[in-house]
Symmetry: C2
Subunit: 159 residues, 2 copies
Amino acid sequence: MAAIGFCAHDHTACVADLMAHARAHCEKEGLKFTPVRQRTLEILLREHRALGAYDLLAQLADEGLGSQPPVAYRALDFLVKAGLAHKIEALNAYIACAHSGTDHSPAFLICRGCKAVAEADTAMTSGRLGDAARAAGFQIEHTVVEARGLCPSCQEPAR
Amino acid sequence: MAAIGFCAHDHTACVADLMAHARAHCEKEGLKFTPVRQRTLEILLREHRALGAYDLLAQLADEGLGSQPPVAYRALDFLVKAGLAHKIEALNAYIACAHSGTDHSPAFLICRGCKAVAEADTAMTSGRLGDAARAAGFQIEHTVVEARGLCPSCQEPAR
DNA sequence: AGCAGGCATGTTATAACATATCAATTCCTT
DNA sequence: AAGGAATTGATATGTTATAACATGCCTGCT
Ligand SMILES: [Zn+2]
Ligand SMILES: [Zn+2]
Ligand SMILES: [Zn+2]
Ligand SMILES: [Zn+2]
């Protein structure tokens, strides 16, 4: 339930650690962690915020790794399917997963001030959404749980 | 917590009732419920599913109520701000509110079989998302809670 | 009546996000 | 070596959303 993203941390180590996890995960699952895919994940990891596909594409293009939309979308699809990244539906943007590779149902806290996004973990079938689904006989396959608001730092100026 | 949308009901009465609520709500709040806005809500109410802005626009255009994107988006913005409709972020589509005008934090169950969407009500600060936000000191302003899956009817064929 | 301000609408253009399709290559298996 | 699956390259297109500016339409004031 910890929501990292709003607090300072050793980011270099954080990135290295998650990249190592990703490499190991792909190895284990027999997935091809190609240069474009690695670079895409690195770019997402550098920020603790969501990037649009075209923002990402611009960075890839700067490095000569492709310049057309499908390049970015293919890499993002791969990462999302592998559980290494998530799409933030409310922003039409993408973010690296903070809980490397494991199958989970994330919930996001999105700050409208500084654009930071924190990933918290929830159980899909618990909570209000699960209750409503059970009551309706609805079989959940995927959940989108996102909150927009202000992070602790961005609440300061308003006080 | 009841999730209407997956069960049959007197739809003519349902639409008339919600339109009346909407009219009363706009009256009370001093909002202008203009012809385009009324027609937009009626079109959304006719379906218990989400419509894309351009689907909606096509129907408005058929009736001579405007043919350019801003017409649809302005009407939808008005309805959403007035609490008479919601955007389904996971579909980039819009649906009439099933709980007329009152301020609430909806949760949606979206069937991938029949495209029906049911609106359930939740309290924004309760449940897992609220827990995570409190733990992080995050101040929630708006929530997006959506589940994709199969409604009771659409689970049948798979059995 | 004449006018100003606010809001709604009309219209054009463009930004931003996402996918279809097909050819060329790579990489693994038989 | 041959076949097949996955990845990449490249072009075009589809879909969703907003910017920008002009026009009309009420309402309250002089
Ligand atoms: Zn995650
Ligand atoms: Zn912030
Ligand atoms: Zn509602
Ligand atoms: Zn269904």
